[in-house]
Amino acid sequence: MSALELIQLNLLSPVILCFLLGIAATLVRSDMRFPEQLYHGLSIYLLLAIGLKGGVAMVSNPSPGMIKVLLAAVLISACIPLWLYPLLRKLGKFSSADSAAVAAHYGSVSVVTFLAGIAFLQALDVPFEGFLPAVVAVMEVPGIIVALLLVQRKNPAASSWLGSIKTVLTGKSVFLLLGGLLIGVLSGPQGMEKVAGFFVVPFQGVLCLFLLEMGMVASRRFDDLRKTGPFLLVFAILVPVLHAVLAIWLGAHLGLSRGGAFILGILASSASYIAAPATVRLALPQASPALYLTSSLAITFPFNLTVGIPLYFAISAWFFS
């Protein structure tokens, strides 16, 4: 399939259409409100379910090279802020705090983009490694820590070093992904069989509902786009594409399957909008949330979901042929 056909396939999938419907809800000022606790409940479900499935896949189809890939993933995360920080400082003329803050977001990952990538692979029947949820988990934290190291914090309100690290490490996404993986590995396919009716069968539909809300959340930030200027817009689209290509290339060299390398690309490309904002807000209070949240949530996230995913998959063909 050509990139265009892939984009069309992606845009017409229920998952992405629900995301667009959420955006539409904000645009037409619908009074629909997504219950906050439902959002939290669905996110617990999605994290645990994807972990579980990964764990079961790991025992039923063990893929070699997991450790190598995990190390590479940590390295990718840690290096991203190292080049983004000077880029934002110099080219973007951002303050030191703002540069570190934005860099932290791109060093971390977006779990929802990952889930949409997995759904895309499943629609195409492309296989991928079972241990990928572990890759998500290890990529969430390093980039944030490295970015925070790049800037001096003398604000009395800033959280302590230890505090910041604790915040990211005890976050629920890392915990549930790894916990799910472990449960999947321990209980195996027979265990999975009993709970597949809850954790597998409705999964894609639940993801739809979740993306409906994410569409609303992302589009509520669209207004800020006017304030943040053109540099950030270009940054938040080109940088993800670049990261995706590099990571897919690296994944291919590490021996990942095409599906796996594609997902590594998605992860490198994606920007965090849950773990990173919470940590950065407390560690760098002087950085402007309007900058880092707008770029990660209102530009990169919708771009990746709609165009990025099929584009990166088309690109991955270059390295696997």
Partner: protein, 100 residues
């Protein structure tokens, strides 16, 4: 029914600060606090995690000097960069000894 006059301090802040502010008020001498979820709009309107819980409201009944210390700490540390407001007023409590 003997009533004793104390101060009630009210703090409204972005939810992310909940743990820190609760620790702060206790460290500064509050014997306890009550915390509710809240929504709100202010002059800044800045918040980092829109859909991860909005604002919180912390109320604590304390001795006047503790109230002073809490307000001072908030003004010194949080007012500049965070979405926080705080105020206090007199309240009459039963069994004032509970609060010191």
């Amino acid at each position: 029914m003997k009533l004793i006059t104390m101060k009630r301090v009210t703090i409204v802040a972005e939810a992310l600060l909940a743990d820190r502010l609760q620790e702060d008020v206790v460290r500064l001498g509050a014997s306890g606090y009550t915390c509710t979820d809240a929504d709100g709009k202010g002059s800044r309107g800045v918040r980092a995690s829109e859909w991860e819980g909005k604002n919180i409201k912390i109320e604590c009944v304390v001795q006047p000097d503790v109230a002073q210390r809490i307000l001072k700490k908030l003004a010194d540390v949080y007012f500049e960069h965070f979405a926080v407001i705080a105020y206090c007023h007199d309240v009459e409590v039963v069994r004032g000894e509970k609060y010191s």
